[in-house]
Amino acid sequence: MIENRNVQKDLEQLDAILKEQGISRRDAMKMMGLGGAAFMVGSTEAQAATVAKASSAKGKILIIGGGLAGMSTAARLTNTLSNPDITVIEPETLSCSYQPGQTLVGAGLWKKGDIAYKRDDFVPSGVKIVKEKAVEFDPENNTVTTDKGTKISYDYLVVAAGLKLNYAAIKGLEEAGEAYSSGDNKKLVDVLNSVGASSIYTADSAEATWANMEKFIASAKSGKKVKGLFTHPNTPIKCGGAPKKIMYLANSRLEEAGARNNADLHFYPNGGGMFGVKEYHNAIVDQFKARNFKWSYKHNLIAIDGENKTATFNHHWTEKGAWDEDLEEYGVELKSEEITVPYDFIHITPPMKAPDEIGNSKIGSSKGWIPVKKETLQHVKFKNVFALGDIAAVPMGKTGGSARKQYKVVVDNLISMMESGKIPKTNKEYAGYTVCPLITSIGTVMLAEFNWTKKPTPMVPLDPTQERYIWWLLKFYLLKPMTIHGMLAGKA
């Protein structure tokens, strides 16, 4: 049973907004023909959105990680199997926290308590929870061992262990070590505060980001000319839009305070563009220009000097090289230099990696991410192993929106494996769907949806490159209840 006053509060606020438009939520749902939308109107008799086929297949399923991806998988398997035997290993008590809300916490629009969700409130009935950390993987013998020495055997393994934020890879932040988004990150906050840096990638440091941003804005308001930097690292990251979202929100907050003219806002991404999809890249460049943002491509943050308040970047580029007779073209040479920039406010998006104990194990890979066939999410070597969410080696896959598509594919394929030992071609494949609700100001969002075709794939027939208030309502009020009531229940 899920009861959470935060979700209730969101729905009440959405009601108030709809009321201003002259419609109640109930009426809105009726107008939309959503009789079955029980979960959205607060009923406990939520109907399964996509009714998974019941299966009597048997097997011992072990899930590593009880975050959004792992717990949703556990819930859907429980809904589907008539005799489920499911164990989830998850040491973090706040593992079900709503990470997409960290951006809003960082801009002072939500409180940390608004996104804290407890693991133990989301363990599906009948699922065993092991509150330990999985540290050893023996896929040849189908066993996993925890930090407390508990050895667990399985028939099928689902790896949904998330990723680690590698702050330690940045010189000057070594003491911060590696962190997960949820849970206690006081030490990280202390290290970041000691150098005057911010990062919304953990709940704790998102809260600290708002305190730093308030100081930054006050300084600009006092008449001082200030400089804010925003970074994007050279690894795949969760929520690829967040490094920009926090910049857009800082801009909004500065405008509110009437202090925007005193602040210089500069984006430093490692890559050579704003977004992997051309249409969204172009839209973002226009949005940046309209807001008088500055940006420098191909800059990767490598060091922070807290004493002098400077950030050092590796600036890299290619230059025309020698004629290459094999290529039948001129090749390119890599060039790089170090650039040091002063800051008054810096938002750091840390490099990210798979946890070492998994990435370096037999189920990992040279880059750590779990290698899976991206369409089926089945491990490339071990057919009884699946991976999804942040830890899976899936292009563009590290968002809640991706996980929302992936967990259904994993459940279908896992059950097929249990039933017949193979995945039929008729099973639905994951096509790389991702959604990035790119907050462009307080009150507007560009809903960037796309898949591996690298073309916009909007779910409604509205120009997807436009910033809209309606998508702000979706981001601010609807996505969290949809996640909490729908996805974590294994239904939507």
Binding site: L34, A37, P236, E328, S365, T399, V460
Partner: protein, 127 residues
């Protein structure tokens, strides 16, 4: 400020999508036709620098490809062809090959990523 109709249309679509998951109609990556088969692409082009069995060429500083699984290979090929595997401004791990790949695609040496990864894996195993 906002148009009521648009609000309800969009909210409706969002909710229907969320509830039924019908927004994605078994979306497959569009079928694409290529000038050469995967094997032809390898034998006409890749082989020159990456070798007969993906062993690489130290003289040209071209990396070996025989040190990774088909799954890892597919990831790397995706990165090379798309300038990265992330969403935002992360960039690629293969800056030189990103440039070269673009030139090769322009010359007609385009290919399906999964097919090439599997072919390479076959080559390495059957050396």
């Amino acid at each position: 400020m906002i148009n009521k109709t648009i609000t309800s249309i969009a909210l409706s679509a969002v909710a229907i999508f969320a509830l039924t998951g019908c927004g994605e109609k078994n979306a497959k990556v569009e079928a694409k036709t290529y000038k050469y088969t995967t094997v032809q692409v390898y034998e006409k082009s890749c082989i020159k620098c990456h070798g007969k069995y993906g062993e690489g060429n130290p003289d040209k500083k071209t990396p070996a490809l025989n040190d990774r699984t088909a799954g890892e290979m597919a990831q790397d090929l995706y990165d090379v062809k798309n300038g990265g595997t992330g969403i935002g401004g992360g960039g690629t791990d293969h800056e030189i090959m990103e440039h070269n790949m673009q030139k090769l695609v322009d010359q007609g040496y385009d290919y399906d990523i999964n097919s090439m990864a599997e072919f390479l894996s076959y080559l390495i195993k059957n050396k």
